[in-house]
């Protein structure tokens, strides 16, 4: 019985230790190593022994990151893009979630399935779908020119605008679902009470619906913001050379420049930046769980 319980705990535990925690410590360690023209391309390696590892700790990569303004700009630009696209996702997602929550009972399961369906479809394909639409000869430009908004095709693909569209599109279900869950729980008589006490429809929405769906808004925003910050596929397919995002920088640092220590340092800082929103998100979830009890 005790052996069994031990095995039950130990197997997933050691799996995660070996394949999640240890690799992460290695990243942390390598971020404090020197670049070397070797395989693997950094020193010291584990083979050099623990004492050598500790003796040669080195913050050079971090000072390098601080001195080269490419990295600062990349972090700031990632933050900006993530914030702006989260805001847009909220603006697009809230009305959809609201419409779903107000839809007749018998439609809701279908609407829910329609929101989740894209989530099961390949992320890459969903991003790719926009490449054809947004390109200079793409459908959007054809439409704009046909309507007469513009005479020349607009450059949309390979700009930040395309990145915003891509993030809003791919992460929209993450925003809709928690807001829908919050609105669905909302007792409709609260809105009626507000109207009964003298609110117009709009006032009741502001004073009752919005505050009471706050948890859903916060949860949805974090669910979009956190992955958007480290996004790689969207900026590399839809963004242009001017689109700076840290996930892309890390990728290029690793695969193109083969500078593993700097790539690791970039990863460590990205993680430090993410810790704050992750903790805030966790606290929001906990508060919500407590409120439900």
């Amino acid at each position: 019985m005790n052996m069994r319980r031990f095995a039950l705990i130990a197997v997933p535990y050691f799996w995660l230790l070996a394949l999640f925690l240890v690799p992460f410590l290695i990243v942390f360690k390598i971020s404090l190593s020197d670049t070397a023209l070797a395989i693997p391309p950094y020193t010291p390696t584990i083979k050099d022994g623990i004492s050598a590892l500790i003796a040669q700790l080195d913050f050079e990569n971090f000072t390098f990151l601080a001195s080269d303004d490419l990295y600062w700009k990349a972090y700031l630009s990632s933050l900006r893009i993530a914030v702006i696209s989260t805001a847009f996702t909220l603006l697009v997602g809230y009305p959809i979630a609201y419409g779903m929550a107000r839809a007749p009972e018998e439609w809701r399961a279908t609407l829910m399935m329609l929101v989740i369906l894209p989530f099961w479809t390949s992320f890459l394909i969903r991003v790719y779908a926009w490449m054809g639409i947004l390109s200079n000869e793409g459908l959007l430009n054809q439409l704009l020119m046909w309507v007469g908004v513009t005479a020349e095709p607009l450059q949309i693909l390979n700009t930040n605008t395309a990145v915003y569209i891509g993030i809003v599109y791919t992460y929209l279900p993450f925003m809709i679902l928690p807001i829908y869950a919050a609105l669905d729980r909302l007792d409709e008589s609260l809105n009626e009470a507000a109207e009964d006490l003298g609110c117009s429809r709009l006032q009741a929405f502001w004073l009752v619906t919005i505050p009471l769906s706050r948890n859903g808004i916060v949860a949805g925003s974090f669910l979009v913001f956190i992955p958007a910050l480290g996004e790689f596929v969207i900026p590399s397919l839809l963004g242009g050379s001017g689109t700076l995002m840290i996930g892309k920088v890390l990728w290029e640092e690793f695969f193109n420049n083969r500078d593993w220590p700097v790539a690791s340092a970039v990863a460590v800082i990205l993680l430090l930046i993410l810790i704050i929103p992750i903790i805030l998100f966790q606290r929001n979830q906990q508060k919500q769980a407590e409120a439900e009890q």
Partner: protein, 375 residues
């Protein structure tokens, strides 16, 4: 009748506060309210009573403005209210679920409606303080709704809907969520508050005891129609139909055909081979008409010997005894198989009761004890 009795419905010069004129409300094919007309007067405590689905909640929601009649007219102080949206009506509602805003404190909940009226800060504070005092909630002003008890929540809901001093207050099953003891106390509290504020209350309930306790008049509803509107005493003593008699309190119904035997006096042939029953009725019944005699169990006497000079006396056998503490209800089976309930007050200790199961007994009642109903 003395002039101090509050009965504006008997005064033909009195203008009603609310008037339903041939109101019909349909939801798709379903007729929720069926050609209904009804007057409610200022300062009344008016109860809409009926089983769930009888349309009472729909009537309330039409008064509040959440539904509009399909046809007909609803007037408030002589004005058609159909075009007035809920937020512009001098009508407030206390919701069945209370609908307290969970993100606002008790104080802010009560101030919510006042703020919409653009009242000055001082005036709001004074009014909220007054409401808190009226409902004895001063100590809880800063708490959130989930931090107080069910009874307190009920009082917050009342304070919030009364704060704007509406012409008409609607209460949707206001005591439904409370346990029995608290419900009884709260009923009297509601009556006090209604009296001291002078507001017209319309209460929706399916609990006949509650309606009888609080209301000045009761409308008994069924399937979108009003069956009877009268004071609680009239409803109980003089129901106009079997439905009303059966809905309010306990009643025995005996089916019979009538035969006039004098001024308002009738003989009732209720079963082959038994002597006819005698009953009085102000309403005329034709010869041989099918009628229902409704008698309350407490108006039926039960005895071991045949009572002398009782106009109606029947012999039967005790089938069951329900002991309720203060009262006992005897279920007596008559020769034809019909079971009649008779109720007596337990003025003696239980050990000294002289009637028990299977005993042959006599039940009897006077000619005026029952009400003769055509339907």
């Amino acid at each position: 009748m003395s002039p101090t009795v509050f009965a504006p419905w008997n005064n033909p010069d009195e203008k009603p506060l609310i008037r339903f004129k041939n109101v019909t409300k349909k939801f798709g094919e379903f007729v929720a309210i069926d050609d209904l007309s009804l007057d409610i007067y200022a300062q009344e405590f008016f109860a809409l009573l009926g089983p769930s689905g009888c349309g009472k909640t729909t009537m309330m929601r039409m008064l509040a403005g959440f539904e509009n009649p399909t046809s007909g007219r609803i007037e408030l102080a002589g004005q058609d209210i159909a075009p007035v949206p809920p937020n512009k009506r001098a009508v407030n509602m206390m919701f069945q679920s209370y609908a307290l805003f969970p993100h606002l404190s008790i104080w802010d909940n009560i101030a919510f409606g006042l703020r919409r009226d653009k009242m000055s800060k001082d005036a709001i504070e004074a009014r909220v303080a007054e409401m808190l005092k009226l409902t004895r909630l001063e100590k809880f002003a800063r708490r959130k709704p989930h931090q107080i008890s069910g009874g307190q929540r009920q009082r917050v809901a009342l304070a919030r809907s009364l704060a704007k001093a509406p012409k008409l207050l609607l209460l949707d099953e206001p005591l439904g969520a409370l346990d029995k003891k608290l419900r009884q106390d709260t009923q009297f509290e509601l009556m006090d508050i209604q009296e001291s504020t002078g507001t017209t209350f319309v209460i929706v309930t399916h609990d006949q005891e509650e309606a009888m306790t609080v209301a000045s008049r009761v409308a008994v509803m069924d399937e979108g129609r009003v069956i009877q509107v009268a004071t609680p005493a009239e409803i109980y003593e003089a129901p106009n139909s079997v439905y009303v008699a059966d809905f309010i309190g306990d009643v025995n119904i005996i089916k019979a055909s009538t035969k006039a035997i004098g001024q308002d006096q009738y003989h009732l042939n209720w079963i082959e081979g038994q002597p006819p029953l005698t009953a009085t009725s102000a309403l005329p019944f034709s010869e041989g008409q099918q009628a229902h005699l409704a008698i309350r169990p407490e108006k039926i006497k039960i005895s071991t010997d045949r009572p002398e000079d009782a106009p109606n006396a029947l012999q039967g056998k005790v089938l069951d005894i329900a002991y309720l503490g203060n009262l006992s209800t005897y279920h007596v089976e008559l020769p034809g198989g019909q079971v009649i309930k008779a109720q007596t007050a337990n003025t003696r200790r239980i050990a000294r009761r002289d009637i028990t199961w299977e005993d042959p007994v006599w039940i009897s009642w006077s000619a005026t004890a029952g009400v003769l109903l055509a339907q």
